[in-house]
């Protein structure tokens, strides 16, 4: 589904990604871990199409298409979803407006008819229930005045409504208490099926207690330094990231 080859990228004149290689197949859950500043978020943003990040080398194919040639909105409509580490507050734009517009944009691109208001409200109410979100959400501005936890739930809610093929969740677990973490994990797991893939970007092993990855990768210094199965997460938790770096040097 996703094939990243030797991807390099620069942000504000600084090289951040220095040759990332990664392959994600349908039905898989991957976790990308790594120390602060290793390029995890940059990778997520580059995949979602952030324009002010300069691609300096490599290629990315998504379902056989050249992902890097597609503008952000086209990637979204093609089923790629980025759950933001810091979801933006957009006062004045209603949550429901945005979600409905997003869903309709995707449906339009797929040649499907737009959802009507009633159908949409039914759908969103059902998904809100999964995410334990209150009705007040419907009348509020996008992420406006949301707590950190609410913002993260909202990201997952959007994901559930948009049903992406490839979800990249950038530190969705950070800032969540244990109850919220369980809700978010349940939301993510509900989307897990053989046709989709999920890439989790995370610092901690904690999230992986609730969402079980097939593969774990350690990103450091702009490269994937180590990959393994879920036991790697436990090892990292025990021995720290330095261990990976040292073993590479050795």
């Amino acid at each position: 589904m996703l094939k990243i080859t030797d991807l390099s990228a620069r942000v504000a004149g600084k090289d951040i990604l220095k040759g990332v290689n990664l392959e994600v197949n349908a039905g898989e859950i991957h976790a990308i871990m790594g120390p602060n500043g290793s390029g995890k978020s940059t990778l997520a943003q580059v995949l979602a199409g952030r324009e002010d990040y300069e691609i300096t080398g490599g290629s990315v194919t998504y379902e056989g298409r050249d992902l890097l040639a597609m503008p952000a909105e086209e990637r979204a409509r093609a089923g790629l979803f980025l759950g933001f580490q810091y979801p933006v507050e957009i006062p004045g734009v209603n949550n429901v407006y945005l979600l409905k517009a997003a869903l309709n944009a995707k449906r339009k691109a797929a040649g499907e008819p737009e959802v009507d208001a009633y159908e949409f409200l039914t759908l969103i109410r059902q998904k809100m229930k999964v995410m334990h979100m209150s009705e007040s959400f419907l009348t509020r501005g996008v992420n406006e005045g949301f707590s950190g936890g609410e913002k993260k739930r909202n990201e997952i809610l959007q994901m559930l409504v948009l049903e992406p093929k490839l979800a990249i969740l950038d530190e969705t677990d950070s800032g969540l208490d244990i109850d919220a973490l369980k809700v978010v994990a349940a939301g993510v797991n509900s989307l897990n099926d053989p046709k989709r893939a999920i890439v989790l970007v995370t610092h901690y092993q904690r999230l992986l207690d609730y969402i079980v990855p097939d593969r774990i990768h350690v990103l450091s210094g702009g490269r994937i330094m180590k990959s393994g199965d879920r036991s790697l997460a436990h090892e990292l938790e025990r021995r720290g990231y330095d261990w990976v770096l040292e073993s590479q040097v050795a």
Partner: protein, 444 residues
């Protein structure tokens, strides 16, 4: 009245000479000494120039070279305002009062439930002291220049005395209309909210016909203790219209005022708000929504004086400028000595939508008292790239995302409007001026 006036030296500009000539056509009334004084001061001071503090960004040079005659006096019957100009449906308003070029059409019995309505011409004749009570001291301040001229030359207007709690908004429809170029009108409104009364009053400025006179309008709101007024001034004229609008508010103890200044039309629009929080507990929320569009020039000046302890003011302004438009937003809060525990906030945000557009903001504070809480802030910029990317990453196309963000920037300031019908009508008029208005309509 011309014989009484000997301005010396003779006014320099064509406009000033024509204003002096208008004076000659006015009939004497009991306010004559005041009016004459106002005119003399106006002629002496002249039209403001860009050297004057609050006119730095607005040049009246072209205007000064023109000559002006009085816009025609027309009343209901002689002119029927186009139904599409109405901001609110009949069912959504207590009444609609018509002012054509400043001349009011009086309701048959002078009474609307809870409001006494008088023509200023009648009040001047029968009870001039009432008018003098609502007359602000003549001021040489540059932001009061057009108010001086209005005081000298207004012929008629409305005095509304709110005597109870009005459940529905009262609309004053200002229609500007002229048969030729170079007309000027002097609409004048006095609103008195008696103790404990409350009302929503919407002044809606529109134009009809081929030519639009310059409108030098003036509104005074006197709020007695514990009264509540929500006042709107909505400018929705065409690109050829010039507005010089002055609004003064005087607030007694415990009075609460919400004021909305909404510029959605006009070519050159200058609005002034001078509010005086004269007694403890008075509070003012003012909100300006300034839309620069095409070649429009909008200049908004607010001056709020805290003259008593425990007074509160909150001023917000949202300005957008597209094409080659220019929006200026100046606000100032003065806290007088003795106005302890005064609280004030000023927030002005500007959004530039084209490289040739310009927004100038300047919040100011002058504090002469201790124990006050005063804050101010002003920012101007372009659309937030993070917000834009967030929306794109959800699949919205760029145009939709951009217009939604522009709308969101302004919509924030609509939320304080308590009259849902007015808010909806203003929202529709607002959307019509934003890029991609068709798309935005789908989001409402």
């Amino acid at each position: 009245m011309s014989s009484i006036l000997h301005p010396s030296p003779l006014p320099q500009s064509a406009a000033l000479r024509s204003f002096a000539a208008q004076w000659g056509t006015r009939a004497a009334d009991p306010l004559l000494p005041l009016r004459e004084q106002a005119l003399q001061r106006f002629l002496k001071l002249g039209l403001p120039t860009t050297r004057d503090e609050t006119w730095r960004h607005t040049s009246l040079r072209a205007l000064a070279a023109q000559t002006f005659v009085d816009a025609p006096c027309k009343t209901r019957g002689e002119i029927e305002p186009n139904a599409s100009l109405a901001l609110l449906n009949k069912a959504d308003r207590a009444a609609s009062l018509l002012m054509v070029n400043g001349y009011p059409s009086m309701p048959p019995d002078g009474l609307i439930n809870g409001v006494e309505v008088y023509s200023l011409r009648d009040v001047a004749r029968l009870d001039p002291d009432t008018l003098l009570r609502f007359q602000e001291p003549l001021s040489d301040a540059d932001q009061q220049r057009w108010a001086l001229l209005n005081t000298a030359l207004y012929v008629d207007g409305l005095y509304l005395k709110i005597t109870s709690r009005l459940p529905m908004p009262l609309v004053i429809l200002h229609v500007a209309t002229a048969e030729g170029a170079g007309n000027i009108a002097y609409p004048r409104i006095i609103i008195e909210a008696t103790p404990g009364s409350s009302a929503t009053i919407i002044e809606h400025h529109v134009a009809q016909g081929e030519h639009t006179p310059l409108s030098n309008s003036n509104t005074h709101i006197a709020m007695r203790h514990d009264s509540q007024v929500e006042h709107y001034r909505v400018f929705a004229t065409g690109a050829d219209a010039t507005h010089m609008d002055s609004l003064t508010i005087r607030q007694d103890q415990g009075s609460q005022c919400k004021q909305f200044t909404i510029v959605l039309g006009g070519g050159l629009v200058r609005t002034t708000l001078e509010a005086h929080l004269d007694n403890p507990g008075a509070s003012l929320d003012s909100c300006a929504l300034l839309v620069g569009h095409q070649e429009r020039h909008v200049d908004c000046v607010n001056l709020v004086t805290h003259a008593a302890p425990d007074t509160r003011s909150n001023q917000t302004a949202r300005a957008i400028a597209s094409d080659t438009s220019r929006v200026i937003c100046n606000s100032k809060v003065i806290v007088n000595a003795g106005a302890m525990r005064a609280q004030s906030q000023q927030s002005c945000r500007g959004l530039l939508l084209s490289p040739a557009a310009e927004i100038d903001t300047r919040p100011q504070l002058e504090i002469h008292a201790d124990e006050v809480k005063c804050a101010h802030g002003a920012t101007t910029g372009r659309l937030d790239p993070n917000m834009l990317f967030y929306m794109l990453s959800r699949g919205l196309d760029r145009d939709t995302a951009q217009s939604l963000l522009v709308y969101a920037f302004l919509a924030d300031s609509l939320t304080g409007m308590s009259v849902a019908s007015a808010r909806a009508a203003i929202e529709i008029a607002l959307i019509a001026q934003l890029p991609d208005s068709q798309r935005l309509r789908n989001f409402r």
